[in-house]
């Protein structure tokens, strides 16, 4: 990488920062602040172990201190990029101010949040040990230093957004690129495992984790690294996908804890269903508000043929593959039955009708109890005691020891669910990039034009609807076995506990419509956040709504944006404006008359 050729990124007239200080002083301040922050994490922050994470030790960081340590190291690295140190330039290719500021902000927010949380939780500043004061002061120095860096623009937005002048990435050999993807996947796995491993009672630690992740990844985004990484990903699509799945498969071995494995399975179920919904909503543009019913159909179908003694057909026990196909087929039929009459509607009308059908499913299942109707589903009691799956003599219900690691029940299901998620991802990718996928997108874009191009709109929409339904049914078959029982309650439109249709839709919209990663990330966040932020209690839905509003205001295309949608929402920042204009229309004549 070029280091000597590039001079300091300041423009000739050297725009000053918000704080008038010489550049060298600013840099030194940030570095000192970062080092101070790092140092503070090795000190005691409070005297009592009552505060979650036990921050009382000298010499060994714990809980929030680890997070602050990471933030400090990040800040230090970004401070060093201001000195053009060889080998660090890749961190901040444009040598911009924004990523340094954001990195310093991550340290600042984590430190100050921790200090305030200790003071408030334990009742007073007296509970703070010198380490906490040092962290607060050092991180304040770092952020003040960052504010003294050359101002990237006149608006506050310029301080936190990606600059335009990011130089193109240097060429790496193919193995190097794969190495980068592997490393990034590993970082992602560690981050995820840490986040999911946070004690549910230690909400403070989780908030610190969120602050670090948000500001840290924001810094990487502002540095242009996220964009470079997505280019790499696109170049090695197959490799990147397999790495992601490998990381997910390693997860139960890393995080050897049944509770977390259970969380993992549920996240995967919801993510898979959200991915199925993404075919309907993201690709075909059909707003389906009753999608969770298909998950329910799959789960009930699997439960009925599982051999549970509460099942109407308790004598029947299908092998897993047959139960899977049954669940899929039941959802498929249900999807076609609902889709055939409703898909003639467009837009809001379709949304309302699907909402109605979703509720009809739940109410019907509730009433098929033998008193209000024929006894099929056992009414509100549902079907419980669903036996564990057995695949090729491998009982998923019991623990197995591989080497020194014990793989428990939920970890077994996690691995099974991972295979199913992989299948769904494959189906999504292949379907999207084909004749049928293009016709879905065409219908989303302009249905009239699409039919005029020879697309049978009804048929194509029905295929999307049926495919989405059967994928949800597939996930439902596993979820029935994971949860031991099925009952009608969770399959509603909106509720505080996932899965429900609103939750699934939010996962798709938040994560990014029309992408593979989006719904998976969206479902993960939406599932994990309420789980870890238990102090929110009854305000969960409120916080959920607030988060939605904020995200839709600042990033309407979702966290992981499809290239198309990104351009749709940020027209001023078009990535591929045609580089040439119309052929010599300099005359400026417009057609007269007409």
């Amino acid at each position: 990488m070029t280091t000597t050729a590039k001079t300091t990124p300041t423009t000739p007239d050297t725009p000053r920062g918000l704080i008038p200080l010489p550049q060298s002083a600013a840099r030194v301040l940030i570095a000192l602040g970062a080092i101070g922050t790092i140092g503070s994490t090795y000190m005691s922050w409070t005297w009592t172990s009552d505060f979650p994470g036990d921050l009382t030790y000298y010499g060994s960081p714990a809980g929030l201190q680890i997070l602050d340590l990471v933030a400090g190291v990040l800040t230090l690295f970004y401070a060093l990029t201001r000195w053009n140190i060889r080998g660090l330039n890749w961190l901040n290719p444009a040598g911009a101010t924004a990523p340094v500021f954001l990195a310093a902000a991550s340290a600042f927010t984590v430190s100050w949040f921790s200090a305030l949380a200790i003071a408030i939780d334990l009742g007073g500043l007296v509970n703070l040990d010198p380490g906490a004061y040092l962290a607060a002061v050092a991180s304040l120095i770092a952020i003040l230093g960052a504010l003294a860096l050359p101002s990237p623009g006149n608006t506050a937005k310029a301080w936190v957004s990606k600059p335009d002048n990011i130089p193109p990435a240097g060429k790496l050999p193919a193995w190097g690129e794969r190495l980068v993807i592997t490393a990034a996947t590993a970082v992602g796995l560690i981050t995820f495992a840490y986040g999911i491993g946070v004690d549910p009672d230690a909400s403070e630690t989780f908030i610190g984790f969120l602050l670090l992740v948000v500001f840290g990844s924001w810094a990487l985004l502002a540095a242009g690294l996220v964009e470079r990484f997505s280019v790499l990903n696109a170049r090695h699509k197959g490799f990147a996908t397999s790495m992601a799945f490998l990381a997910a498969a390693i997860f139960p071995f890393v995080e050897n804890n049944e509770h977390n494995a259970n969380l993992g399975v549920n996240i995967l179920v919801v993510a898979t269903v959200a991915l199925g919904l993404n075919i309907v909503v993201g690709l075909t543009g059909l707003l389906d508000l009753g999608y969770v019913a298909f998950l329910g159909v799959g789960a009930y179908a699997a439960a009925l043929v599982s051999g549970s003694e509460f099942s109407r057909f308790s004598g029947i026990q299908f092998p897993f593959w047959a139960a899977m196909l049954t669940g899929m087929a039941a959802s498929l039929i249900f999807g076609v039955l609902i889709g055939a009459p409703t898909l003639r509607l467009r837009g809001d009308y379709l949304a309302i009708v699907t909402l109605g059908f979703g509720e009809i499913f739940r109410i019907t299942v509730n009433n098929l109890d033998g008193t209000s109707g024929p006894n099929i589903t056992n009414g509100p009691n549902g079907i419980s005691m669903i036996p564990d799956l057995e695949i090729f003599g491998f009982n998923l219900g019991s623990s197995h020891t591989i080497g020194s690691v014990t793989i428990g029940r939920f970890a077994n299901y996690l691995l099974l669910m991972l295979i199913i998620t992989a299948i769904v991802v494959l189906v999504f990718n292949r379907a999207a990039d084909s004749r049928i996928g293009r016709s879905w997108i065409a219908i989303r874009e302009d249905e009239t034009a699409a039919t005029a191009m020879g697309i049978n709109g009804f048929r194509v929409k029905l295929i999307a609807f049926a495919l989405g339904a059967s994928l949800a049914g597939l996930a439902g078959t596993v979820s029935a076995h994971v949860g031991y029982s099925v009952n009608p309650a969770p399959y509603q439109f909106a509720g505080s506990v996932p899965p429900n249709s609103a939750f699934l839709l939010a996962a798709v919209v938040l994560g990014g419509m029309g992408t593979v990663g989006g719904p998976i990330l969206g479902a993960t966040l939406l599932y994990l956040l309420p789980e870890k932020l238990s102090f929110l209690k009854e305000y969960q839905l409120f916080a959920f709504g607030l988060a939605l509003v904020i995200l839709m205001r600042f990033r309407p295309e979702g966290i992981i944006a499809n290239r198309r949608r990104q351009l749709e929402f940020h027209e001023t920042e078009q990535a591929d404006i045609p580089e040439q204009s119309l052929p010599d229309t300099t005359v400026g004549v417009t057609k007269a008359g007409a």
């Binding site: 004749r435 495919l467 351009l567 045609p578 005359v587 057609k591 008359g593």
Partner: protein, 290 residues
């Protein structure tokens, strides 16, 4: 103009009538387009030209009358009409804005390919071959239309004139025998209009008959072998450019008929007199307004 020797009818519309409640938008229109022909359809705004197009392409189900393509009567379903071999463009551009230029054309190939969901999921050799062939054909068309270098741009980012061209390429992708163009030069400058003219001739030379709606008379009369004029839903006159241009009823439909003692007559006479003297005395550079 050269026309191909075989002049079998490609499109035969007989007695097409379209009523919306009490309003008759198109009344008993007959129109024939022969192979190798460029036929123009003109008429004042609201004459029912686009409604007639929609009847031809199955977007509307005509109240009466039938439309036949190469001898077979077409069912009134847009996708069946397209797969039979009639492709169209729209008056207000209706591209798939958030798809790339290439994808837009690939969507146009829809009727000429068969690969369904299963083959997309299984990705057999047949699927790959069909996909590659589609892409090749689409690139050929983009080459023909002059947009191959922008294949990966989003359709929404193209300038107006190129969006019009892309719409034509997308329509051509379905390998039609008849292309319906709805105001292909609306909003274009003279150079672009000229280029479109060349393009339509090139399409005709590929053996595709063209039926075109347009308001630009110079464009229409340069281009078309035959022109039909639609006024208030009825076909007023049909024939060669000269016949239509000379027809008094057509002029009346566009400009209105003068009547005795109309208000403003005196002013018109004054202006005409002034213009006549002005034109005689100096060589005015100003073109006369219509």
């Amino acid at each position: 103009m050269t026309t191909t020797t075989a002049t079998s009818p490609v499109l035969e519309a007989t007695g097409v009538t379209m009523r919306f409640g009490g309003l008759t938008a198109v009344r008993n229109v007959d129109l024939t387009v022969n192979s190798g022909e460029i036929v123009g359809l003109i008429g004042p705004n609201g004459a029912g030209k686009t409604t007639f197009f929609n009847c031809l392409t199955g977007l509307y189900v005509p109240t009466e009358g039938k439309v036949a393509y190469k001898g077979t009567v077409l069912p009134p379903k847009p996708h069946l009409v397209t797969s039979a071999g009639i492709a169209r463009t729209f008056q207000n551009i209706r591209l798939f804005a958030n798809m790339t230029v290439l994808e837009n054309v690939l969507v146009g190939r829809h009727t000429r390919t068969k690969e369904g969901l299963w083959s997309a999921l299984l990705r057999g050799p047949g699927f790959r071959k069909a996909e590659a062939a589609s892409r090749e054909r689409a690139m050929e068309l983009l080459e023909f239309i002059g947009l191959a270098h922008k294949a990966d741009h989003l359709a929404r980012n193209l300038p107006y004139g190129e969006q019009r061209k892309l719409e034509i390429a997308r329509a051509l992708a379905s390998d039609p025998g008849l292309l319906l163009l709805d105001e292909p030069t609306a909003g274009m400058n003279p150079q672009e209009t000229r280029a479109t003219e060349e393009l339509v001739f090139a399409i005709r030379d590929k053996g595709i008959a063209v039926l075109v709606i347009e308001h630009d008379m110079r464009f229409i009369f340069n281009l078309c072998d035959r022109v039909a004029c639609l006024v208030q839903g009825e076909k007023l006159v049909e024939g060669t450019s000269e016949v239509v241009q000379g027809d008094e009823r057509v002029i009346a439909a566009y400009l209105g008929t003068p009547f005795e003692g109309a208000p403003g007559d005196e002013e018109i006479a004054e202006v005409e007199a002034a213009e006549a003297t002005g034109a005689q005395s100096t060589t005015s550079t100003e073109g006369s307004a219509q």
